[in-house]
């Protein structure tokens, strides 16, 4: 059995998200070192504030300011911070009920060790030096030794308006790292390509040959395993003319992208056609692979010069 391939795969995307009026005021407030909450119809103050009451679904707009000090309601010691987390030294995850609020906010607490953390301890916001209107404008929480009767703190009404432009959206970058492995069937297909061979798999039930193989026959729902070499030549079954240049792709437009039924295959694969003016490509055109410089895969297909295939020979594959 051939070696199963694997390769690093990074999935990275910046999500651009717009904010509702309550979220906008809250994140603008963080930029201005002010923590806002929202008051529900029954007088509860939610921090962080949401647009709709989680209990009644009622629209919430009654903004209030709460303190930047509060009380830890639960905690968890994180001795090995992970990428993207608020601190890169060991810290406590905490839920903090800010003074004047009835609900708790999740964030990090900077503390020397787990012995310095307990439920009920008093903490205050440590503001980030550079603030943009994001939850990370709170760098973390830190121990607060100050005085003040917590129960006396009342949330004050707030207009939600601040000097400067309101924050109306966030860009949330996300990155996940994987080690991609295509599995047995596709590994064998890729190995064969590096020997300049296209190897498909035959369904034991309906006898169709699939290229590239995916390990299962989509008609019969059974595993495919019998290997069948197909091509190298094939027939264009259908095609399109691409007029939009793809990012990071050094190919001049217009060019032709086609479905190609390799000789012996029962499913067409797709590839670029070159070596012929784009407006002369046609259904039935006979083509052969031109291997990439690395020799690991066909860069494109070009005409063989044979007469066109008769429609009846490939009509089931269109």
């Amino acid at each position: 059995m051939t070696e199963v391939l694997s390769a690093p795969l990074v999935v990275e995307f910046p999500f651009t998200r717009s904010l509702g009026p309550v979220q906008s005021a809250f994140l603008t407030g963080l930029r201005e070192r002010t923590v806002l909450g929202v008051r529900t119809a029954d007088g509860k103050v939610l921090v962080p504030p949401v647009e709709y009451d989680p209990a009644t679904a009622e629209e919430l707009r009654d903004l209030v300011e709460v303190a930047a000090t509060g009380t830890v309601t639960t905690w968890a010691w994180n001795h090995e911070p992970r990428r993207g987390q608020p601190l890169d030294t060991p810290f406590a995850w905490v839920l903090v009920r800010l003074d004047g609020a009835d609900t708790a906010l999740l964030h990090a607490l900077d503390a020397p060790g787990p012995d310095a953390v307990h439920t009920g301890m008093r903490v205050r916001v440590r503001w980030a030096a550079e603030r943009t209107g994001a939850i990370t404008d709170i760098a973390c929480f830190e121990t607060y030794e100050g005085e003040g009767d917590v129960m006396e703190r009342q949330a004050q009404s707030h207009s939600g308006e601040f000097a400067g432009e309101a924050v109306t959206g966030i860009v949330a970058p996300a990155r996940l790292d994987y080690t991609y492995s295509p599995g047995r069937t596709q590994s064998q297909y890729i190995h064969a390509l590096s020997g300049r061979r296209s190897v498909g798999e035959r369904c034991p039930s309906c006898r169709k040959v699939y290229v590239p193989p995916r390990g299962a026959c989509p008609t019969c729902g059974v595993a495919t395993s019998e290997q069948v070499e197909v091509g190298p030549r094939g027939t264009v079954t259908t095609f399109c003319i691409v007029n939009i240049k793809a990012k990071n792709l050094d190919i001049e437009v217009p060019y032709v992208y086609a479905h190609i039924a390799l000789d012996g295959a029962d499913l067409a694969l797709h590839a670029r056609i070159a070596g012929i003016p784009y407006d002369q490509v046609r259904m039935g055109l006979r083509v052969e692979p031109v291997w990439s410089e690395s020799g690991r895969f066909p860069d494109h297909y070009r005409p063989t010069g044979e007469p066109d295939a008769d429609y009846d020979t490939y009509k089931e594959l269109v």
Partner: protein, 356 residues
Amino acid sequence: MAEHTGPGTRDVAIVAFGQTDHRRTSDELSEVEMLMPVLHEVLAATGLKTSDIGFTCSGSSDYLAGRAFSFTMALDGVGAWPPISESHVEMDGAWALYEAWVKLQTGEADTALVYSYGKSSPGSVRDVLTRQLDPYYLAPLWPDSVALAALQAQALIDAGDTDEPALAGVAARSRDAARANSRAQLGGSVPQGDYVVRPLRTGDCPPIGDGAAAVILAAGERARELCARPAWIRGIDHRIEAHSLGVRDLTDSPSTRLAAERAGAFLRPVDTAELHAPFTSQEIVLRKALRLGDEVTVNPSGGALTANPVMAAGLIRLGEAAARVHRGASDRALAHATSGPCLQQNLVAVLEGDPR
């Protein structure tokens, strides 16, 4: 609240269950290659062919393995051509089962194939699961799944509901039960280990691994034809709580309790409960919400602490409970599945066998 067995509802049963061995990695298998053997297993158990199935529904998440549209690839394994009646949820397969149950209730199908799979090995599941969180206030902080569970565990300890030795007891009982489950990834004597995120130790956390599961549902007489002792779904319901952890009482699970009420779980005692509690502390919450006493056999399979293929572990709870009914080891079993951080969303089903 009455059970879902009033006029106009159909009797629907789980008639077959299959699962893979659950393993830390499965590099040699694509998703469909991993899934296909369990599909064939449940079809063979009932004698059904793909073309006999009235409705197919699956649950999975592309984020786990970083493979876009992996669920469409997985469909190759069921023989989806010519086109079949099919649906998918980006959730645990337990919710795919719920959708299939609804489909059977409409009378549009008499049988359903439900499957789910999870390949956590290609990525870092702790980080991947942060992407299901509120993108404004939570996701930018990358709070991983163990950290959130640890906040819940500490809240339980503060409330006096549990302590670290009790949590270790849940871990030990689960892994001991898994000795009898050849499919489990982690069984036998497993040390509690060091803190991952305090107060949770490695022993309090589920193993990370890959696996798949499938069940077949059938309605009425069709179920009796396909299975000697069908596991009748006497009630099934799912409920959700607020997403924000700071709004919830993390020591309780009102959504589980409500789903259980609606499923009729409290009308008569159950003898068995399969609970989807990936962390030991979550079993404490669920036992309380479901009022399970010591007379109930909890997680005889070992539960998610012994095999936790994400997106399949909830469906496996339904399957394991049904399998016990099938083989006469249970007459009335509760199955539970969860989704989201700290038991945010919960599904409860009550399964019964015919009187013996």
